[in-house]
Symmetry: C2
Subunit: 418 residues, 2 copies
């Protein structure tokens, strides 16, 4: 058998929609969105709900030492490899109902559909909810643990108090010292597929149904402190100052200019800036910025990051400041498996939905998984490209199309690699 032998099979759209409506109630906000911060009561409630959904459908439940929660449809061959489908149920504060949830619910629905159809596959099929994709405590904690890529000191170092993080893990039944045990052997895996909303407006603007992800942008995040001298703002001539805020402001403006002019495909955002002393009559002596940059090309990413670090030194010199630099996060550019890209495209053609290849600028668990096992990612349009707010919205027909593309891509890959 091959994937195309199951050409007429479709997911149960009503069942999926009922699940979606129930899940939206967990952590619902007054604005019509959801807040399910990782390891919060709401997140734990959503996991308990998913657990019941698996059990209710007679699907075997598994959880690991990082809190990742899975339902498994076993192959008849006990030594078969496992094809994982999934995403995450946690959200940003005051987030939307679609980000992450759609991928987990579709994975659940794909398992139920295959089981209902009585199909037996040459791989185990696993639907997974990864812990803390959004980084409330640590971005991609669950997929990082599963792939063994968490740094040693991810929950303790000298610069920060990780006590609340560790307490939250214990409360969720995840002893921090056991998280490394969640690591799996890549030889046991047949691949990873993730359905997700786009969170940007390229599909929406192009009127296209499905985005076939080719690669996921690398991201680096830095904290920098520009340090000058706090003098009286009325009596210090403008040309004699060491104004940390002016230095930081110029850095932000010039960094934006640099990326827009020299790095097409690059992204830059300064997310925060804090000033000291920040008072009446005083020239700021400290301006602390946190920024990140992204690129979809590995080589360009490195050059861009280097230029952004040089720029900070240049601007510090121009404004007679010192600059202190700390790297907070670095995730590499990820490449989706060519086999997965082709399979998803073939499925779209067969199902008669339009598709386009694209890169993702948002990070996803697929980015982590792709370093570990051949991975693929399917995007569906976000109306207006809006995400991470209660106004996040995807048309229901796109959710159904996405779930069916996930179903058939899984069937195709399962039968091919099994």
């Amino acid at each position: 058998v091959t994937g195309s032998d199951y050409a007429d099979i479709r997911i149960n759209a009503d069942r999926l929609r009922e699940d979606f409506a129930e899940l939206c109630e967990i952590g619902a906000t007054i604005h019509g969105g959801v807040s399910r911060l990782a390891l919060s009561n709401e997140d734990l409630q959503a996991r308990a709900w998913l657990d019941r959904r698996f059990q209710h459908s007679g699907i075997e439940v598994r959880d690991d030492d990082a809190g990742n929660l899975s339902g498994i449809l076993r192959s008849e061959n006990p030594d078969a490899r496992t094809l994982i489908l999934g995403s995450h149920l946690d959200t940003v504060p005051d987030g939307g109902c679609y980000d992450g949830s759609v991928g987990v619910l579709a994975a659940l629905e794909v398992l139920r559909t295959i089981r209902d159809a009585g199909i037996t596959l040459p791989v185990h099929l696993e639907a997974i909810d990864f812990t803390d994709e959004e980084g409330c405590w640590h971005p991609n904690l669950g997929s990082g643990a599963l792939t063994g890529t968490l740094t040693e000191n991810y929950n303790s170092d000298r610069d920060r108090d990780y006590g609340p993080f560790r307490a939250a893990l214990y409360r969720a039944g995840i002893p921090p010292n056991n998280i490394h045990k969640a690591r799996r052997d890549p030889a046991t895996l047949a691949g990873y597929l993730e359905l997700h909303i786009e969170q940007s407006q390229r599909l929406f603007e192009a009127g296209c149904d499905i985005g076939v992800i080719t690669n996921i942008a690398g991201r680096s995040s830095y904290q920098m402190e520009f340090r000058g001298e706090a003098c009286h703002s009325g009596t210090t001539a403008m040309e004699n100052r060491q104004d940390a805020l002016l230095g930081a402001s110029t850095y932000i403006v010039e960094a934006h200019r640099l990326i827009r002019e020299c790095f097409p495909g690059g992204m830059f955002n300064c997310e925060n800036l804090a000033v000291s002393p920040g008072t009446f009559n005083m020239i700021p002596d400290r301006a602390n910025v946190v920024w990140d940059c992204r690129h979809i090309d590995k080589e360009q990413m490195e050059i861009m990051e280097g230029r952004l670090l040089e720029l900070a030194k240049e601007q510090a010199t121009v404004h007679s400041l010192d600059v202190w630099v700390k790297r907070l996060v670095r995730t590499s550019v990820a490449t989706m498996a060519g086999r997965a890209v082709l399979e998803i495209e073939r499925v779209c053609e067969r199902l008669g939905v339009s598709s386009m290849r694209m890169a993702s600028y948002a990070g996803h668990d697929a980015q982590i998984m792709s370093t570990f096992t051949p991975s693929g990612m399917i995007f569906i349009p976000s109306v207006g490209g809006i995400s991470h707010t209660s106004r996040e919205f995807t048309e229901w027909r796109h959710v159904i199309q996405g779930a069916n593309v996930l179903l058939h891509s899984a069937l195709g890959i399962a039968t091919e690699v099994g």
Copy 2:
């Protein structure tokens, strides 16, 4: 008699120095500076100390409903007008020993010197310590109250909780509702003279002993909030953003450029910037800045302020943002009395100390008093121009010269206007 009849009289430098050493102990910091925030224990202790110094010298003590503390040397004519000499004993947090203190101590010393010399003047002579010059609660609270220029809502409005301020006033024995009673009748005054350190390095660099102040810069302070949209920083194209922090940063950079290029004699400082939401992966939707500008020319000040407000609107438009604007403070450009300027210059020549005319960019009580009574201001050099830190330092010979210039200027004006 005229001022020059007392040509040989000098202040008692040892007595002044002993006072200075004692005062420096009150609120002394480990760094060698002082913290005497207005209405704090240390400020109240310094006032109690000044009260004892007046009493110890047999000088009549007076305090008013705004907490201004004075010593008075009465003229034989009970209907005489009053010439006020003074400054302030309060400091900024972790400030220096000279700012304000030198002026109050010199005023005390001038009164003692004149009384010791048995001189009777045709005016009452008053040495005053003004409440909260530094603006811990409200800039120039004491001189504002004395001149009746405080706004009605200076201790209550809808935007801010003034409870702690009112509590601090009560604790210091200053019922807030009586402060307006501190207002004096300008017809009862003969003028105001203030000795102060320069807090800038023009005298120090020119090697000049005395600065004769001609005018004091006007100052306006604004709070502005740039408002955009908080989107995902990885998925929102750089050209489609409404990034409040980028708008605010550009504003700061362009405002500095504007003042430096188009307004010689103007000053600009952005003292604080706060970002919302300030988190991981989010483009800032709010950037709240507080800035001030100063100019020594009334007309240029108005044009400059207008251009800075226009610039905010321009930058908001360029970055697709809204901008909300609130004026926090506005003090007008102040002009010192021509008579006082000439008298101080004549005294410098007679005493053989060098002098130069200059404008002050820092605000002083003389700025408030000058709108009310003919006022003059005497600057002495600050080493390196450093002020508002524990490293603030003025050579002792300059303090003595300044006190003697104050003495003879007071004698000259007293005999002339009496």
